[in-house]
């Protein structure tokens, strides 16, 4: 008997069907207790269009070869002392920030997708979430391998899991993912699947990977290529999630809109760290944050929201404010880290003359007027032996947990303060966006673990800076402070002196 060969799609259906059977000795609602309280209504789970028809058996095979290739490159990078061929050791500080800030979040994403895969009823959704969960775990592993290599030569990376739960600026990405992970499974899918992995991923990924390429960090570049074939699956999953929710029931629209507004703003705040990395921490520049924002959010996001408009979904609230801030955010963030360099596990510096001119050219509307004079003053103070450190602990935004250093929309010389009252306490915010998020869920955000509050409450090892750094496991005088004079700079200079000697 001749049997018609199955198409790719049908083959996939055969490999995945039946995973969504009706339970018989427990009611379905008890088996899936979390997929209704958020108010999302699903009429027909089978209408889920699986965006990538990858079965588990081929997933293993595929990823195994990918990992072999990636580790071969990482090994050869290590064997050939690739770290000596990067553009400048300052570059490593961008890597430190990325790896200590984002790698633990890969793990959080892994757990979040495992949760979504368990608690959403649709078979297609569960398979997709399961694969993404494993992807995220693999990404963490490969990033930890990168950490372990750079950790042999450079400071500030060794205690990354410990620091993740304690250090003030690492609480920014941590709180972002804690928020998503403590939400329901649908909000998690919109927060991480759509907003983070689709809408904002190019802003995180492209600048970082091209930054690595420009600065000779081939291990990170290879990781980028390896991850990109996963990322594309993650992006299509994000797109499918939002379409599916919007098509399933009209009541879902306002809920999804609220989540898109919230996670866009939270993502924008988080990406401010990437903005600073691009504009200040890459010795060889790729493009400015403003340029990246225009390409990946204003243009690409614009056409996405034009299409989403057919579902009635609007551009995220405060997208216009975020676009205005794209001309300020990297400078304002770098100013914070420069002032608090004694409390950060990476090094800072003032831009040199060439770098200042690049910034002036890239930010004609804002840099010369608002930031260049401050940088020049700080550089002058440095020369005079009066390097400026901010000795006071900053006030943090209750929502994004970033020090309150951002300025008023339309007025870059006034710091923006907002506040809300909840149960007799006053909570403070850096922006209307963050205030709105708090006001929608005050019970949740009033419980936020704010690093500065914790220090004042005596929960962080003691009252002095060295006490707190010790509690952070931050090696004072080694991990922190300016790049100039750091052990990182010393080892870099030694390598290069050696190269010069060899050349002679």
């Amino acid at each position: 008997m001749s049997v018609k060969k199955l198409g790719l799609r049908q083959r996939y259906e055969h490999m995945t069907r039946g995973l969504d059977w009706e339970t018989s000795y427990q009611p379905m609602d008890k088996v899936f207790p979390y997929d209704q309280f958020e108010g999302i209504k699903i009429k027909d789970w089978s209408a889920w269009e699986d965006p990538f028809r990858l079965t588990m058996d081929s997933y293993w095979k595929f990823q195994a070869e990918k990992e072999r290739k990636l580790y071969a490159v990482l090994d050869s990078f290590a064997q050939n002392n690739g770290q000596t061929n990067i553009s400048d050791a300052r570059y490593i500080n961008a890597v430190k920030l990325f790896l200590t800030g984002i790698s633990p979040e890969e793990y959080q994403a892994h757990r979040g997708f495992a949760f979504a895969g368990r608690h959403l009823r649709g078979a297609g959704t569960r398979v997709a979430a399961q694969m993404q969960s494993i992807d995220e775990l693999r990404h963490l592993q490969t990033q930890v391998h990168t950490i372990s290599h750079y950790n042999k030569f450079f400071d500030g990376l060794g205690e990354f899991p410990h620091m993740h739960d304690r250090v003030w600026y690492l609480s920014v990405p941590k709180s972002f993912f804690d928020d998503a992970r403590s939400a329901g499974p649908f909000e998690f899918m919109i927060a991480i699947g759509f907003a983070f992995e689709y809408l904002l991923t190019n802003l995180l990924f492209v600048p970082f990977m091209s930054g690595a390429a420009y600065n000779g960090d081939m291990s990170t570049v290879t990781f980028g290529f390896s991850a990109q074939s996963d990322e594309s699956r993650h992006m299509t999953l994000g797109i499918e999630v939002i379409k599916f929710l919007l098509e399933q029931h009209p009541d879902n629209l306002p809920i999804v809109q609220k989540w898109v507004d919230k996670w866009f703003w939270r993502g924008h705040r988080l990406l401010g760290l990437v903005a600073m990395m691009m504009d200040y921490m890459l010795p060889k520049k790729v493009m400015s944050w403003k340029e990246a924002w225009d390409i990946y959010f204003v243009e690409a996001g614009g056409s996405l929201f034009q299409d989403l408009g057919r579902y009635g979904l609007k551009m995220p609230k405060y997208a216009d404010i975020a676009t205005e801030e794209a001309e300020h955010i990297s400078h304002q963030n770098w100013a914070v880290f420069y002032q608090y360099t004694h409390a950060a596990a990476f090094h800072t510096w003032m831009p040199d003359a060439e770098h200042l001119d690049w910034l002036s050219a890239k930010y004609p509307n804002t840099f010369d007027k608002y930031y260049r004079p401050r940088w020049e003053m700080w550089a002058k103070m440095e020369k005079e032996g009066k390097r400026f450190y901010n000795g006071a602990l900053p006030q943090l935004c209750q929502c994004c947990q970033i020090p309150m250093a951002y300025t008023e929309p339309g007025d870059p010389t006034t710091i923006c303060f907002r506040s809300s009252k909840y149960k007799d306490d006053t909570y403070h915010f850096c922006s209307d966006g963050c205030k709105d998020i708090f006001d929608a869920e005050p019970e949740k955000f009033s419980q936020a673990w704010l690093p500065v509050h914790q220090i004042f409450q005596g929960n962080c090892g003691g009252p002095t800076v060295p006490d707190v750094l010790n509690w952070y496991h931050l090696n004072n005088g080694v991990d922190n402070m300016d790049y100039v004079g750091s052990p990182d700079e010393k080892i870099w200079n030694e390598w290069h002196a050696e190269n010069t000697r060899k050349a002679v």
């Binding site: 049908q10 028809r53 070869e65 594309s232 699956r233 299509t236 056409s303 057919r310």
Partner: protein, 353 residues
Amino acid sequence: MTYQLVIEPLGECIEVAEDQTILDACLRQGVYLPYACGHGLCGTCKISVLDGEIDHADASNFALMDFERSEGKTLACTARLKSDVTIEADIEEEPDQRRIQIRDFTATVERVENLTHDVKSLRLRLDEQTIDFQAGQYINLTLPGVEGTRAFSIANPPQESDYVDLQIRLLPGGKGTSYIHQTLKAGDKITLSGPYGRCFVRKSRGGPLLFLAGGTGVSSPRAMILDLLAEGYAEPISLIHGVRTRADLYGEAEFTALTKVHPNFRYIPALSSEPETSDWSGERGFVHDVSERLYDGLFEGLTAYLCGPPPMIEACVNTLMRGRLFEKHILTERFLTANDAKKTAKSPLFKTL
């Protein structure tokens, strides 16, 4: 130099230029393949090469692994043909699609008639042949002295297979339509190829149907409706045909007559620019506005077929989606040229709309 590309499981055969990617060729022919990055990095557009030779070009080593290359996989967004090729792609099979080979035909112009002041009806009788097609498909016409081909929907149902009827509006400055309106006459010989297109009726889905047509876009709904009625399709069928004024309306007598014979067929002509003072008592407004009124803004449960100029299609898609009818149930043919594709930045949200 071009090669033939057969796309399984559709069985569709298309022409691909030597330096053209498989993805580009497919999208231009209205065959949607899943894709994302468009330059060999992500692997979303992975396909199997069943037969023939290709060049992987810039496919990334991570997006297309060595073992996959040896298994005959490639990435549609970078692969170029080195011979005639058969691929298998991740395409939803349409149970209603028939595999009909595209052929070249010679035909004789049997008659050229005025339907309105600027629309002509053309009957091309095929020379000693018949054409097999699905209602809703189109042909490409080759016109003497006009570069390239021109696509026109077939206005007659497939039951009438020894000729094709076309309805063609004169586009000011349009070379092809000017030739047809001003030069072409009965007795002329002409060549055409077809049938093309994927905007055929998804009969197996059943359910009520809504046809939204603008101007000469009514030609393919005409073929589809005549075909459905001839086969005894019993579910409600509605046709809303929008034109500017009374003077632009044609086909009214035929459609009205059909409503008398087939109680499940409803015909609504709609005029968008008819003077307020005229004695027109039918619907006024654009097709999307009229449909919104008639359906109370709720289109769930229907399958809609959209034929007409791009702004009309866009407006109708928006109205239908607001009324909770989504991509899967909205069918339309996009006639894209290389320039159109570049003109508007599209997000990957929709596949065919």
